[in-house]
């Protein structure tokens, strides 16, 4: 696990859109992230967040779940309609409804408030690594340019996925998950392995993240392609 710092050259700082209604959190998290070299734009409610998202280019979205007006889950869904930008949700309620609906709406990962800046930055980096890992070309898999699984074709160089010849738009985490499966075709991968390899979590990771991302991936590449092995995990059908 090389500790890739988000590509923070002076020319192109990584831009984070922070949508959070609590003013203190918005200010302090913004300041803390700026110390780590990120450029932060922030909004205090969902609709402003959506406007800011549409106006500019953002490398990552950091969304609170409870927001006035358009809430974090609704905002996440609206963003996903047009964009595959990495989305990290923050939830203070910590009940599973928040977590599950956020991930279902298309978020890549979630953190529970309160979160240390160091942990938040680690999650952001992990997510950005997934988004930019074609550039960081030291990750698996490298068996050949095109992998074919039934009607599914994965171009591992261009990082494009085609189903029946039509391109499928995958969010970074979904793509990273699919590549993890593709590197181990026909082998059952348990949730803990996927959590570690795709999300950079240890044993304390929440395996619902895996389940919900697999669900989203299935919707895009066909439900039968990824098989559930009850009690163990998932495998990609050849």
């Amino acid at each position: 696990m090389s500790d890739l710092v988000a590509t923070s050259g002076p020319s192109a700082p990584v831009t984070v859109l922070l949508v959070e209604d609590d003013e203190v959190i918005r200010k302090t998290v913004g300041m803390a992230l700026e110390r780590y070299g990120y450029a932060v734009t922030s909004a205090g409610d969902g609709l402003t967040g959506l406007e800011l998202f549409r106006d500019g280019r953002h490398d990552l979205l950091l969304l609170d779940v409870m927001l006035p007006g358009l809430d974090g889950i609704g905002l996440c869904r609206r963003v996903r309609e047009s964009s595959l930008v990495p989305i990290l949700m923050m939830s203070a309620r910590g009940d599973s409804l928040d977590v599950v609906s956020g991930l279902e709406a298309g978020a890549d990962d979630y953190v529970a408030k309160p979160v240390d800046t160091a942990v938040l930055v680690a999650r952001i980096r992990s997510l950005l690594r997934r988004a930019t890992f074609s550039a960081a070309a030291e990750e698996p898999p490298k068996p050949g340019a095109g992998l074919i699984f039934g009607d599914l074709t994965i171009d591992t160089d261009g990082l494009e996925v085609f189903r029946d010849g039509e391109q499928v738009a995958l969010a970074p985490t979904e793509l990273r998950l699919l590549l993890e499966f593709a590197a181990n075709p026909g082998i059952v991968l348990d949730r803990q392995t996927l959590l570690r390899n795709v999300w950079d979590y240890g044993w304390d990771g929440d395996s619902r993240v895996v389940d919900l991302c697999v669900q989203r991936l299935r919707k895009k590449i066909g439900a039968e392609r990824i098989e559930t092995v009850r009690g163990f995990g998932y495998k990609l059908r050849r």
């Binding site: 998290v29 009940d95 309160p114 803990q192 044993w203 929440d206 395996s207």
Partner: protein
């Protein structure tokens, strides 16, 4: 499904089951009706045959008496010797015709008729055997018919007892499911006629509804409290991280950390108390989970592993339990803290004064720590460890080592790795 069949069979064989009580009641009622009808029919038939017997005897006596009056000679078929007559007949006032049913010989009964003519008693007797036999045949038929009716009614009653029995079993099954935590379980009474079983069913259903409502309210409240506490706490934590380094900053950060731990622990306990937690099982290598848990804690602990321990458990909750136990050993005990993983058992011990007797007797109590350690912790860590152990179906026990030191033993539910 199999369990249902076994339960149904057990119900069938249980002599105390409602089914057999209903069957016994129906059988008793049938027997009582048969007995009453039988007695009435027997009595009326007997009375009728008596009347017929009297009439026949009187008809036979009439000509004999007439002849005697006319000629002074009695028919030789009649009886004139008073010694041959039943004494009870002679005791009657025989100025008019008297009758006596003579059943002194039970197989051959006689009907006597007698009249006194000028002080001379003349009697005739008629054999009543055929009447007796037809009465006996009638009794036999009544008994046979009753038995035939019982043979039909008893199985019918057993069958008729099945639908209410099945409904009652469903009530019991649903109540057990609710007790096991499935608060969505309902019996359902829609479209049923109102009877006692529908009453109890809807009572159980509304009880489950009320329970669920209360639990949901409590969960919502806990989640709202969590939100209200964590939001300012997160601002505080992030702000304290932005402060310039100084001694005062360290103090602030330390207290913020204490506050954070306390809030998280309280929220965790309220979630555990609400019973809303469910384990997220996975087959994991125990040694790795424990090792990482200790490492992340940043505390010293000597880890010994026997064999290649694997368990089917919830790794996040296991991580919480181990971290809380190790942290507790450091806070209240003395190093070295030892963590031993053997099979599905994890033993954590320290070399301090051991658990206080109160804890060993009553288990961990929130906000009650030994007087000597007051101010060091809130007694929440062990409560949480115990609660989480319950959620993952593990057994957590506390004892003191004979040579001093507190020992916490966590026994996970055993399961071996399915392949190799």
């Amino acid at each position: 499904m199999d369990a249902d069949i076994v339960q149904a069979a057990r119900g069938l064989l249980n002599p105390r089951s409602q089914r057999w009580k209903i069957v016994a009641l129906v059988a008793m009622a049938s027997c009582a009706v048969a007995l009453a009808v039988g007695v009435l029919v027997h009595r009326s038939t007997f009375d009728r045959s008596m009347a017929i017997g009297r009439e026949r005897a009187q008809n036979a006596l009439g000509p004999v008496v007439d002849q005697y009056r006319r000629t002074g000679v009695a028919d030789p078929l009649s009886v004139q010797d008073p010694d041959a007559m039943p004494p009870a007949l002679l005791r009657q006032d025989l100025e008019q015709v008297g009758f006596w049913y003579d059943d002194r010989r039970p197989d051959i009964p006689w009907m006597w008729a007698a009249e006194s003519v000028d002080g001379h008693v003349i009697a005739v007797q008629m054999e009543m055997g055929s009447e007796l036999r037809s009465l006996q045949a009638l009794d036999r038929h009544i008994v046979e018919a009753s038995l035939a009716v019982l043979a039909v009614v008893v199985p019918l009653a057993a069958l008729a007892a099945e639908p209410p029995n099945r409904r009652l079993r469903r009530v019991a099954r649903t109540a057990r499911r609710i007790a096991d935590g499935d608060l969505d379980a309902r019996i359902g009474t829609a479209g049923r006629a109102r009877d006692e079983i529908t009453d109890i069913s809807s009572a159980v259903d509304s009880m489950a509804g009320a329970l669920q409502e209360r639990l949901l309210t409590e969960q919502r409240f806990t989640a709202d409290v969590a939100h209200e506490l964590r939001t300012p706490l997160m601002g505080l934590i992030t702000a304290s991280e932005l402060l310039p380094e100084s001694e005062a900053t360290d103090l602030v950060r330390d207290r913020v950390q204490v506050l954070r731990t306390l809030v998280e622990n309280l929220l965790e306990i309220s979630r555990l108390d609400a019973g809303a937690e469910s384990a997220d099982h996975a087959v994991v290598p125990l040694d790795q989970v424990v090792e990482e848990s200790v490492r992340r804690l940043g505390l010293q602990a000597r880890l010994t592993v026997t064999g290649d321990p694997v368990a089917d458990t919830d790794p996040r909750r296991l991580d919480r339990i181990v971290a809380n136990l190790v942290a507790n050993a450091h806070r209240h005990g003395r190093p070295p803290v030892e963590v031993a993983v053997d099979g599905t058992t994890i033993v954590i011990r320290d070399h301090g004064p051991g658990f206080p007797g109160e804890l060993l007797a009553d288990g961990p109590q929130r906000f009650r720590t030994g007087a000597a350690e007051r101010g060091h912790g809130h007694g929440l860590g062990l409560t949480i460890a115990l609660g989480q152990a319950r959620v993952i179906g593990a057994e957590l026990t506390f004892r003191n080592a004979p040579d001093g030191g507190a020992v916490a033993v966590l026994r996970l539910r055993g399961r071996t790795r399915p392949e190799g």
